[in-house]
Amino acid sequence: MKTIDEIVADHADREGPLLPILHEIQAALGCIDAEAETRIAELLNLTRAEVHGVVSFYHDFKTKPDERPVVQVCRAEACQARGVEAMMAAAHLAAGDRVRLDTVYCLGLCSVGPNARVGDDLHARLNENSLAKLVENA
């Protein structure tokens, strides 16, 4: 696995490299914690406050590790119109503490919702049962 130093070095010649760096560190380490922020700041000649400001602004970046599998459920308007809200109680029940249920606002599949994403896999036309099953198998 690449270290933070290697990741930062890989992006060194890009313009405005911070977001690509944070994406790669998030993917590699599962989060961007205080230690990571400090190291990134040193390498890019920024203050830790600047790095933390960026990390905390974006929903994709997490400051604490969470090993649980993640199911992202779209709860934006078009999926609401297709009934996602009524399915959430069963999904939470299936998730318990084992699976993290995240809300996303739109996966771009708004004509065939309700939709969910697990990793890079998308799932459409979900109903209460199939969403719960998706969560159980996550």
Binding site: H23, G53, A76, C106, C110
Partner: protein, 513 residues
């Protein structure tokens, strides 16, 4: 029987199970061509053999189709399907018809003709044709693309940028995604034409992280076409799950590696954009419309379509509770009635239509009484509504408009960049007021009940007073916010309140007062 079968590898088709069909056909010895999606989403995954389509196909029907059966799923010749035949496809002319990453398919369907011609006629002439076409930004604000390009072309500076806004955060929209996955070279060609016209050498596509399939396609397409667009270069940059980064100045901050806070304008991005350099920021659909406009006679054709100052075609995205959802490109001027009932076939649930939200989470909820409104930027503005990115989301009569109004405020609170108070605080207060309207007011809290708090009002606010407060707050947000996130959130809220007061527990007259 074996042969060639065409199945889309678009993310939506895959989410609906296209991959299992691919495997099943391959197992039977068929050759599978991965094409873009036609945009008839209720029929995905769609299977096409010799121009004839079957949909929506499940894996247990593959053997049937391979033998020429499955007549119950057969829709006949796909290109003649009324949903396709009635469109005016310019931006999506290749939808369903080409393999997204085939340079051959792209070139044989007129690809690169616009770029070749742009190089021949020179930057000045390109700008003139862009102005002539009347093309307006498809990202939401509807600003004339030609004027923006001209400003950047004239701006002082040795370094200039072309930035494609592919953040497509609006619920109910997916045209950018379909274009990037289905016809990525068209976007790249549009960006190259723009770069040529304004004198830029570097381009960025700012893509939302919810679109991993589009990322793969774009990166592959960029690698394949690098030699064609050289010396212009384009890089894909991923967003990080933040709606406000679709706002152009927030997007530029994000590209620079900063917090995605909105910048005050002026300076315009066209003059001081990315890293302080003159920058064109255009939506995917705006840029993808360019190659066609730049072909011989393209600008004149584009200008001849549409109504008033809304020229050309709009890829309309039909979503939510509809029978026939998908992408429908047509000239401006089409009414919601036609879209919702004739084209989309009414609700999927079979229940009456209650409301349609046009233009994403910041767009107004439109009542069936207003369904004769023509798709036209100015007509929508006059009706206190917006076209935005062209997404329409249909709701049936089970929709709770008060809950949707509250959701609009909650969404604004969750996604606010925090730069200005009307949006950052107003959205939280707005959520609370709607909450109070729905639960019948609020009692004085512990502090307010203290004897020394003699300035606090003692009587509870009436329902009417709560509504007045909400209206006041919406006015403040509308006129006091720096960008359209705070500024337009009042549209869905106020339209819900005006048209469906009974959902808020109000008498009809109260809301119209």
């Amino acid at each position: 029987m074996t042969g060639i079968v065409r199945i889309s590898d678009d993310a939506l088709a895959r989410a609906c199970g296209a991959e299992s069909l691919v495997m099943a056909f391959e197992k039977l010895g068929w050759t599978v061509e991965h094409v873009s999606s036609w945009g008839m989403h209720w029929l995905e995954p769609l299977v096409e053999v010799n121009g004839v389509g079957w949909g929506a196909v499940t894996v247990d029907r593959v053997a049937d189709i391979a033998e020429g059966g499955a007549h119950d799923l057969c829709i006949g010749p796909v290109a003649e399907h009324p949903f396709i035949a009635s469109q005016q496809q310019l931006t999506f002319a290749r939808a369903g018809r080409t393999r997204p990453l085939s340079l051959d398919d792209y070139a044989t369907t007129g690809g690169w003709a616009g770029l070749d011609r742009a190089r021949e006629i020179g930057g000045e002439q390109v700008l003139a044709e862009m102005l002539r076409s009347g093309l307006r930004g498809r990202g939401g604000a509807g600003f004339p693309a030609g004027i923006k390009w001209q400003t950047v072309a004239k701006a002082e500076g040795t370094r200039k940028y072309v930035v494609c806004n592919a953040d497509e955060g609006d619920s109910g929209t997916f045209a950018d995604r379909m274009l990037m996955e289905g016809d990525p070279f068209a976007l790249i060609e549009g960006m190259a034409i723009c770069a040529h016209a304004v004198g830029a050498s570097q381009g960025y596509i700012y893509l939302r992280s919810e679109y991993p399939d589009a990322q793969r396609k774009l990166e592959a397409a960029l690698a394949l076409s690098a030699h064609i667009i050289a010396p212009f270069r384009v890089e894909v940059r991923m967003g990080a799950g933040t709606y406000v980064c679709g706002e152009e100045t927030s997007l530029l901050n994000s590209l620079e590696g900063k917090r995605g806070e909105v910048r005050a304008k002026p300076p315009l991005p066209a003059l001081q954009g990315l890293f302080g350099c003159p920058t064109v920021v255009n939506n995917v659909l705006t840029l993808a419309a360019v190659p066609h406009i730049l072909t011989e006679g393209g600008a004149a054709l584009y200008e001849s379509l549409g109504v008033e100052r809304s020229k050309g075609t709009m890829p309309i995205q039909i979503a939510g509770n509809v029978k026939h959802g998908g992408l429908y490109e047509t000239a401006f001027g089409v009414t919601l009635r036609e879209l919702v009932y004739d084209i989309a076939g009414g609700t999927a649930s079979g229940r009456p239509v209650k409301a349609v939200q046009v233009g994403g989470p910041l767009g107004a909820y439109i009542h069936p009484d207003q369904f004769d409104l023509p798709f036209d930027y100015e007509a929508y503005t006059a009706a206190d509504a917006l076209i935005g990115h062209g997404g329409i989301v249909v709701f049936d009569d089970t929709a709770d408009m008060a809950a949707l109004a509250r959701f609009a405020m909650q969404f604004c609170a969750a996604e606010s960049c925090g730069k200005c108070t009307p949006c950052r605080i107003g959205s939280v207060r707005g959520t609370e007021i709607i909450e109070r309207i729905l639960t019948g007011g609020r009692k004085a809290d512990a502090v307010e009940s203290l004897p020394q708090m003699h300035n606090v009002r003692q009587s509870e606010r009436s329902l009417e007073e709560q509504v007045m407060l909400l209206e006041d707050l919406c006015e403040t947000m509308k006129f006091g916010s720096l960008c359209a996130l705070g500024g337009f959130t009042p549209y869905p809220v106020m339209s819900a309140l005006r048209h469906w007061p009974e959902d808020f527990g109000l008498a009809r007259e109260a809301a119209l007062a």
